[in-house]
Structure formats: C-alpha cells, structure tokens
Amino acid sequence: MSGLIPLTVRELRKWYRNPVFFIVGLLQPIFWIALFGSAFDITKLFSGIPKGAAVLPFGNAPNYITFIVGGILTTTSLFTALFSGTSLIFDRRLGNLGRFLVSPIRRSSIVFSKIVSTTIRILVQAVILVGAALLIPNGLKLVHGISAPDIFIIAAALIMIAFSFSSLFSIIAIRLKKQETIFGIINLINLPLIFASYALFPAALMASWLANVAKYNPVSWSSEAIRTVILNGNLSPSQFHSVMLDLLYLFLLSVFMIILTIVLSEKEIRD
C-alpha cells in the first residue's frame, strides 16, 4: 500500500517528539493501575464469602490488580484509539490532508497510517502498564508464571482490540470537520463499553441482564482472554476453548473493520 510507511513514520515522529503526548500516554496507564488497581481490596470481599464457596467471583485472582489488568489494557486502548480520529480531523483542518489527497498514494493508506501508529502507541503503553503493575507493591502477581504462548495470546488480543477501536474512530472521522463531534461520541459510547463488559467486574457480580449484554462486548472479549491467561497456568480445555473463541471474535471484528475502513476511506475521504 503506497504511502502507508512514510505516513506512519510521520505519525510516530509526531508522537514521540511531542513531550505532552508522550508523557500523558505513559502516565495514563500508570494512574489506572495505581488508582483502580489498589483502590479496591478484594481480600475484604473474600472475607465475606464463606470458606470453600462453590463460586469465587474473582476466580483465583490473588488481588484486584491481577484481576483487572486485562480490562485496563483494553480500556486504555479505547481511550488512546481516539487519537486516530482526532488526528485525522486535525490533518484536515491544518491542511496536511490537502497534500495527501493530491499525491499518488492510496487514500486508505492515509487512514491506515493513523490506525497502525495508534496501535503501536497502544502496545508501547501496554508494556509500560504491565511493567508498572509488576513493580508497585501488591501489584500484578503472575502466580503461574508466563509462557511464550501466553504472551502471544495477550499481544494478539491487544493488537486486535487496538486495531478495531482505532479503525472505529478513524472511520467516524473520515468526513468530520470538528473534533467536538468525536469527543461527544466517545463520551457517549465509552461508559457503556467499559461498564457493560467484563473489564472491571466479573460476570458473577453483575445483574444477569448486564452479564448477558457484556458477552457481546468486544471489551469483554479482549479483557477475558488476557485475564484467563494471566490467572491460570496451563489452561483447561474449557478455558482454552473460551480464549480461542474470544480471539476468533476479535479477529472477525478486525477483519470487518479493515474492510469497512478500506471501502469508506477510498470512497469518502475528502478535504
């Protein structure tokens, strides 16, 4: 796809050279972990549950951070993905897009440069987030260690969710002139996306209608896949099955978003 590489290089340069973007991007996941992860002390919750209860709502999580790290990775990627939309709008307003549109490059590569660069940003943030979670006292505990296939599953889930969210916001921005609209949209969708999912709470603690809705939420797919791998050593056949199903859904979503992005950006993008 001609144009994709130089445009992605541009995006990444703008990112790492902008100290505010960079520092905010790094601090945001650390705050999430420090505040959210240690604000809830689930041992208190455990103490209310009789010993040997049939179902533990947080499964075998040693602490809350370990339980929600997959959810936080997913949630921060939702917020960071917003950049792919806003920067497309900025390119339009600042005139950069005018240059791209008269150059012999595929129009979809303009949009994919946003998606790819945002996905890279999200991955860098994820590494920092996991590092921070491991370092803080009573932080992330990898009780069963972590294997290469585990890392592969985590990375795959994260890349696919980052890609899907970035595509979503880019598609929204393909014809927008004002970034207010896109901020409005994220305000509208991010609460239901985060709270009607298994990102922060286990299904067992949810009202049954909410737990049912959350099944169809991509945030749940990626949170659950990552969580299952982190909380368990060797996956049982049923755990393996559910992780693969989550990854399959994420894969189908990503493919759908790629096709939608290509079709819409080739046809609809304009100055």
Partner: protein, 333 residues
C-alpha cells in the same frame, strides 16, 4: 496516446457543491506546454474549486479534463504523478523539519532516498531555503512556509504545477520575491504553471495568458495586452452626494459608455481622459454638481476586470473563513 498540442484540456467542467452551490459552471480550457496560465477572479469565483478538480482532490460534477492525455477522474493516479500542487492552504507539517516534509512527500512518489535528498537540496537552494531544511517548520515565517510549499510541490519533477493563490497573505516585498521564484521555476525547470490569484499585479506580471473568472465562469481569456487593448478608452469615476447628481453627470455627451456602480456613483468611459478632463470640469461647474470623489483610470487589468464583471476585484472575503483565519495566523508569524 496521441500527442496533443495542449498539455491540459478541459471540456465543460462543472462543480456543484452539496446544497446546490454552483462553484464552477462549465469551464473550457486549452493550455499550452511551457506557459504560465493565470486565473484572475475575486473571492468565491471558483478558482480553488477549479484547481482542486484539475489536481484530483475533488471530483467534477460533470465535464471532463485531461492532463497530458490522462483523464483526471479515470486516470487520477497517473495525473497525480505528473502534476505538482501548491494548494491555497498550507500543507506542510509544522511538527516536522522542512527536509522531513520533503522526504515524506518524495516517498509518496517512490523516489529513492538518495535522489530525494539531492532533489531537496537543489530545490531548497532555488528558493533560498538551504539553511532551513533542518529546522522545524513551526519556526518558519509565513513567506518561508510558502516557499517550502513550492519545494514540496516540485519534488517529483512534475510537468504541470498548480499554484492556488501563491502569495495570499504575504507582504508586498515577500510577494515580489515569490514572483521571482515562480519565474525561475518556469525558466529553469520548464514546468507549465497554472496559477490563480486575486491580485491583478500578480497575474499581470507572471501570466502569459490570463482568464478572468467570476461566478464559476470564464468571462474572457487573452494576454494581458490583448485584454487591455480591448478596453478602448479610459475610465473617469466620480462619486456624488446625491443620485440626481450622478445621473446628471451620466448625461455628459462626449462619452463611449456610462455605468453606475452605486446609485451615487457614475463611471464614464471616454476615448482619452487627458483631453476629456477639462471639458468634464466645465460640465460639472456649469451644472453646479460637486464631486465627492474623483478618479481617473488608464487601462489596467483592474479596468479589464471591472469592464467584464461589473465590479471591483477586491470585495468581501469569502470561502472557508475558519481555515483562512488559521492560515493567515500561521502566515503572519
């Protein structure tokens, strides 16, 4: 592909924006290789819309255009490879260095890095920016940014260069400098240049052929001299306190033509103002009418414009005001 005498030809090019805004209403052009072709028109005339269609950033509503035989819609990728564009709005990225902007665009055209570097150096030297290639664009002045736009538009050796309002918002000296660069580009690089402007001096000093465009239509085309000699006469324009006085003045006999740009203003065309003025003075005194404002215009493109469009070229600012304000702000720094 058959060789045409013309590098660019259009047939009935039309653009209607959503909401029924008829920005361009049927433009026919024949542009020869090596020319500088100038579009002169006021704000909102449809200059940018025409350039945007020809440079493939928007699609025409109807009509066709070919550049070196390539159709601007069906062969848009090929058109993009042979044209260079400097749009009305700035396009370079402030967060990158000058040279990084150039290299990025060079990669759009698959130009190898080494060649791109060489080309960038040559072009930066051409517009006296050699010392600034390694500086961030955010540190450039308005004039420097416009020059960088020229470099970016030329990096792939285009055969045709579109310049939309190349000196908009620049001060007089910087504008004159810009004209020198544009002439240099034509002479040294042999590029056919199509430019738009609402500065008469600009098209007058740069363009070989001028088209006056208004309300989306080409009103007249010719060389600067041809257009001026079509005028056959000088203009005497007087503003009065009352409409009656203006009408009375309009009855002056020895005239070619009269028009009333405003109710209290009359515009007389006479054969030779130098001989007619004393008579007109007498006429004014005899009829006891007192001018408030009095001006004489010898043939100029200003006059040509007025003659063909019935209005002055400098009028209300139109277009995308928000973007324009943003660009102006960036240019003034």
């Amino acid at each position: 592909m058959e060789e045409s005498e013309y590098i660019l030809e259009t047939e009935n090019l039309v653009k209607t924006y959503p909401g029924g805004i008829k920005a361009v209403q049927g433009i026919n052009l024949r542009i020869k290789k090596g020319q500088i072709y100038g579009f002169l028109g006021p704000n909102g005339a449809g200059k940018s819309t025409t350039i945007k269609m020809l440079s493939t950033s928007i699609k025409p509503t109807s009509g066709t255009a070919k550049i070196m035989g390539y159709d601007i819609v069906k062969d848009s990728m090929n058109v993009r490879r042979i044209i260079g564009v400097v749009p009305q709005d700035l396009t370079t990225d402030e967060d990158l260095k000058g040279i990084e902007n150039i290299q990025m665009v060079a990669r759009f055209y698959d130009i190898p890095a080494r060649e791109a570097r060489k080309r960038a150096e040559e072009l930066l030297a051409l517009v006296d920016l050699s010392d600034f290639g390694n500086k961030y664009v955010s540190s450039y002045s308005g004039g420097m940014r416009k020059r960088l736009e020229l470099v970016v538009g030329l990096v792939h050796n285009p055969k045709v260069l579109f310049l939309d309002e190349p000196t908009l918002g620049l001060d007089v000296q910087t504008r004159a400098k810009m004209w020198d660069y544009i002439k240099k580009i034509r002479d040294e690089l042999g590029v056919t240049i199509i430019l738009t402007s609402h500065y008469l001096e600009e098209v007058d000093s740069l363009a070989d052929i001028i088209s006056i465009i208004d309300h989306g239509k080409i009103i007249v085309t010719g060389t600067s001299d041809e257009l001026k000699s079509n005028l056959k006469g000088d203009i005497i324009q007087i503003e009065f306190a009352t409409e009656a006085e203006a009408k009375k003045f309009g009855e002056y006999e020895n005239k070619i033509d009269v028009s009333y740009p405003k109710e209290t203003e009359a515009r007389l065309k006479v054969k030779d103002a130098d001989y007619e003025l004393p008579e007109i003075m007498k006429y004014l005194v005899n009829n006891n009418i007192k001018p408030l404002k009095f001006s004489v215009h010898k043939p100029s493109l200003d006059q040509v414009f007025l003659e063909y469009t019935g209005r002055e070229i400098r009028e209300e600012e139109g277009g995308d005001v928000r973007k324009m304000a943003m660009n102006m702000r960036r240019l003034r720094r």
